[in-house]
Symmetry: C2
Subunit: 280 residues, 2 copies
Amino acid sequence: MSNRPIGIFDSGVGGLTVMREMIRQLPGEHFVYLGDTARVPYGNRGAETVCRYALNAASFLRDHRVKALVVACNTASAFALDALRDQLDIPVFGVIEPVARQAAEHTESSEIAVLGTRGTIRSGAYKHTLLNLRAGLDVHSIACPLLVPLAEEGWLEGNVTDEVLARYLTPIADTATDTVILGCTHYPILRNAIGEATERLPLATPALLDSASATTAAVAEQLGDAGLLRGDDSGVGTRTFCLTDLPERFAATAELFFGRPLDGECRHVNITDDPTSTTE
Amino acid sequence: MSNRPIGIFDSGVGGLTVMREMIRQLPGEHFVYLGDTARVPYGNRGAETVCRYALNAASFLRDHRVKALVVACNTASAFALDALRDQLDIPVFGVIEPVARQAAEHTESSEIAVLGTRGTIRSGAYKHTLLNLRAGLDVHSIACPLLVPLAEEGWLEGNVTDEVLARYLTPIADTATDTVILGCTHYPILRNAIGEATERLPLATPALLDSASATTAAVAEQLGDAGLLRGDDSGVGTRTFCLTDLPERFAATAELFFGRPLDGECRHVNITDDPTSTTE
C-alpha cells in the first residue's frame, strides 16, 4: 500500500478527461495533475521537442514523489514514452496502448478508424500499436486539427461542428469501420457530436472508444497487483492541479473537461526547460 | 545608411504575412525572421508568459545585430511592447498601432470591428489604441479562436469557413460598422472569405484593413527618416528564417503565409527561456 500520489501529465487541460475517470474509478487515491498550459499544444511540435517537454514534466512530478506517471497526452504518449520509462523508476502509463487493445479486441470487421491531432496521426503510434496487437487490421488514421479548438470554444454541437466532422469522416464513409478511437483527450466532450456524425455515414454505427476508461483500468490493475494502491478505507484522496500558465479563461475551459469545478488546490508553477532540474 | 538586418519576430508563421509585405515595399533590406514555433500559439497564454517569451526572442535577435525589431505578433504587440522598448536601444514596432491609426482615419460611421485571437481581444489593446487615437469611436471586439486553425488547415473557403465567419460576425450584423481590422497576422489569407462573409451581412460592405502594409509603411518612414535604410542601389537583401521548432509540415504552412517558397536560409534554433542569454 502506498499513500504517494499518482501523477497525471498533459500538455494542457484535455488530460482532465482522464483524471476525471481516474477519480471515478479510484476515489481514494491522491492525484497531482500537471498541465503544461504555457507550452500547449504539443500536437504540432516535433518529436524531439515533445520528448524534452515530457521529461521536464516528469522531473517536476518526480519531485512530488508520485508513485506512477500517467501521460494523459496522446502526442507525448506517442513520442516520449520510451524516454520517460528510461528516466523514471516508477510505472509509466500512456493513453494509446490500453484503448488500442480494447479496439483490437472489439472490432469484428477488422477496420478501425483513429481520430487524432496532426501530431498524433503523423507519429503513426496508434496504427503501429494496433498492428502489433493484431496484424491484418485495416487502420484508417484521420488528422482532425480543428476538433481541439472546437472543443475549447465549447462548440460541442451545431452546424459548424457537424460540417467539420462530416468533412473529417468522409474517408471512412465507404468502409466497414466498426470501431472508432477518439485519439485525443479533448474528444470525449465532442462524443455526442461525433456519434451523431458517424450515424449520418452509410456505415453501420461504429463503437466510439476513448482512452480515459481503458487507461484507468490499466493503472488500477497494475498498481493493484503491485500493492501500490491506497486502502479502500483511506477516505477520499486529495487533488492538486499544477499549471505552467494560468490564462484568464482557464477555470471555464478546465471545468468543461473535468465535468465540474476543480475540487482541489490550483497552483501556477514554472518547470524549467531542462530535464535535470525543476523549480516551483 | 545601415546594412544591419531588420528583425521580425512572431510566435509562429503568421508573421510571414508581414515579412512578405516588408520585402515587397523594402526589397533592398536584409531580414532575419524568428518564429517561436516551439511555443506557438501565444494567443491563449497569460500576459506575463507572453512578455517573457518576447524578451527571449528579442534577446536572440539582438545577438543578430538587428537595427530594428518588428513584433509581427498581435499578442506580443499587445502585452510586450513596453517591456521590449525598455530593454532594447533600437526602434521597436508593433502591429497594432499603425493599422489602428489607419482605421481611425478611415471610418466615417465611427464604428470599427476588430477580429482577433482570444488573447488579443482580451488584452483590449486595439480598443485602447483606437480610443486613444479618436475618442468616441464605437469598437466591436470579436474573439475568433477558430480562424487560426482554419487558416493553418488551409480551409480558406467553403461551408465550414463560411459558417464559422457567419457566427463570429453576428454581433456586428445590425451595426453601422464600416471598417474591419484583421487583428491577427493569420487572417490576411482568409481575406476573401472574410470579405464575402461581410457582404452577406445587412450592413454596407466595410473596408478590411490588415496590419502588414500599415506596419511596413511605419517602418519605412521611421527608418528612412533616421537614415537607417540600405541604399536603393544595394541590390536585393538576404532573408534568414529562424524557427524554434521545425515540424514536418512547416514548409507547407509557411508557404501558405509567405505566398511562395521561403527564399532564404532556414535554421532550427534554440532560444533559452531566460531574457538575459540565448544560444543557437
